[in-house]
Amino acid sequence: MNLTLKVWRQAGPESEGSMQTIEAEGISEDASFLEMLDVVNERIVEEGGDPIHFDHDCREGICGACSLTINGVPHSKQQGITTCQLHMRKFRDGDTIWIEPFRARAFPVMKDLMVDRSSFDRIIAAGGYIDVRTGSAVDANSVPIPKEDADSAFDSAACIGCGACVAACKNASAMLFVGAKASHLNKLPQGQVQKDERVLGMVRQMDAEGFGNCTNQYECEAVCPKEISADVIGKLNRDYVAATVKEAVK
């Protein structure tokens, strides 16, 4: 199939970027979206140009590295997948495809389609963990956890930290990401001890990183490759109020 790509090109973090039109010819329907870009890049390189830079690694939808906004939607309009899991058979011959980086002030563009998502790491460092020294754990079966709770914790823990939620949000809010981590750990008995500290820490870091606020439009939920429910945001709001009150009267 033949496609017209409109790709965001930006030489570096400080440079101005713009959309470039690239023709992608003779692409196989069975190729994945990133393989299509590989083919395009290989041709660019052979013609002496600078290939399109994008982040990727596992190419099976689990590492969270790939991060393209395709036709205005992070990871494309297909639900429940990452960009690397998108296949060209979802497009039609002759289509024009817009490819842009994940946009958010807290995710500065580094080059072309690569963005810096280290803000997510700093949010986790601000409380997204259970503080347990290696070797100090009790026997794993000493605290039974209802299956339902374990499953629910898993649903939130499925987050791959790709940042599509932020990229899809018109406010660049990271509430789904933060809510997912809070829901994961706050759901488990092990996570209770540091629950308030965790919620306050992560929310404050999120604000400090310059993410926006949730206006409950649920775009994040719609694009999340792991289909994490926006319920985690409601829970985060609740836990945050509780933690703030407790902190104030302490």
Binding site: M36, V45, T134, G135
Partner: protein, 665 residues
Amino acid sequence: MSNSQSAENGTLDSAIPAGPLPEKWTKFKSKAPLINPANKRKYKVIVVGSGLAGGSAAATLSELGYQVKCFCYQDSPRRAHSIAAQGGINAAKNYQNDGDSVWRLFYDTIKGGDFRSREANVHRLAEVSTNIIDQCVAQGVPFAREYGGLLDNRSFGGAQVSRTFYARGQTGQQLLIGCYQALEKEIAKGGVEMFTRTEMQDVVVVDGHAKGIVVRDLVTGEISSHAADCVILATGGYGNVFFLSTNAMGCNVMAAFQATKRGAYFANPCYTQIHPTCIPVSGDYQSKLTLMSESLRNDGRIWVPKSKEDAAAIREGRKTAADVAEDDRDYYLERKYPSFGNLAPRDIASRSAKEACDDGRGVAKTGLGVFLDFRDAINRLGEDTIRARYGNLFQMYEKITGDDPYSVPMKIYPAVHYTMGGLWVDYNLMSNLKGLHVLGEANFSDHGANRLGASALMQGLADGYFVIPSTLPVYLAKETPGKVTQDSPEFAEAEKAVKDRIDKLMSVKGTKSVDSFHRELGLLVWDKCGMSRTKEGLEEALKRIDEIRKDFWENVRIPGSADGINMELEKAARVADFIDFAEVMCYDALDREESCGGHFREEYQFTEADEEVQSGFTNPGEAKRRDREYCYVAAWENNGPGVAPTLHKEHLEFENVELAVRSYK
């Protein structure tokens, strides 16, 4: 060129503690040197890699008080390739009360490795396996649970007991997230300094000790070095030497291979594990292969048509699977291994698929693919049951291939999945290069010639959480902290060597893309040093590798500059090492004139003439080990590109298990 030199060991001291096997680790721990807390703070430790092995080591060492610097090439430590492991992690908890024990896990792992691993290491692995589960649960890893709230287990890869802990199909992800969170916690506390998008390019050796590394900042292109009291490599496996594998695109052998240039030995590089249930290659644009859980083999039946004509018709789209009558199908695993059937071990299942396809009976467009058919299971159990069991996997398959496995059989083909070889290490996980410690998939230590399913995650975490914190002081206690600083001339020299190499790459200015070389190399290694190997094939491969190397250094094209993000340059540096490394791999495969685990030499297989076949114990065509000659670890000393490496042997002693021939009848 083709004849490698060989030096007997003597240089290789495995440092295995004395005493009866089950007591070695306990005794070691009670006698190992300790470093007092005030002193620990003075030691600097470099950890390269933030996967299960590196992440857990960095976090734990920081908790203990060491000053840790941790490096990874991804933009976040959370993306290390450990994240992709699906199936599960073994531990000898015996929660199912089905007779499991540390001894059994030890024995299964040794046997699974085809008796090419160290007893003492494997036993220690089995011992600490239980602590790993405790640790991970305490961190909040949401393992699957039963309705009573206790942890669930499943049996994995043909094990007789249920000892595999899992978190849906994302066990690796959940374990890594737990480990990553612990790491971030230590970063926040200031114990770990994290360097992301930073690639290690060389080890700095001062007076024969590894005391630092040279790195390239993948964002600015800057080359710099870091000094420390010791260096830990946890940089994962080298599966990407095959170009197509189930590894992530960035997985590489650079760190380990550069270490061999500084004197570390590479052990058993020819041991690679091929996974039987991957989605077949669909075209030459293909960049990687996707693994599908082995659990599919519990209900799916593997077959190809009996006749080449039918197979050709299917390939060309003139026929479908449904057009092949029951009697015209060859359920080859069920036929050859009646008692194991479709659950035959990975290497056997993989090789049988290759044989069927080499015979012209492959069913994928490329000729490389066999059917994995759920028709009978759906008829027997109903579509709903199958959906409940494999819904996610079916969905994933459909996303990738566009075929609906409920109505047409899946197509699968083996793919490279795990690499058992790695840098040689002793019991303390230190390589022969003093101060250089190696953990996880990057070392060779625990899996022998083949890896049991669900044991790599176990090994990575055992190494990082429990082994290295106890064994590192064996080295460090003898070192004065801060003895070596970046001011030593070795650092500037190493930096310069790295810069020179990058300049050399940039100045080739050829016409061919990096990927084209990688693809060519991968195909070659897959053909000649893949699922089955021959002397001629390997010798030819060695010749071709030399040609590819020449071509590469004359014709590779890297656009842009080295001062900034340049993904072609990153790939090129990795591919350059893969080329040199492939050579060592072929030498190793050539040297090992036997078949064992993931290494199958066509010359060494059972035939009708063998007693074992006549007695019906095994089949003709099965791998034939030669214990008397090859019961050793082959550790290779790098002598430079194009020069045969030197072999150092570590003989394996088996005092506690009897070397048995595998029988899958």
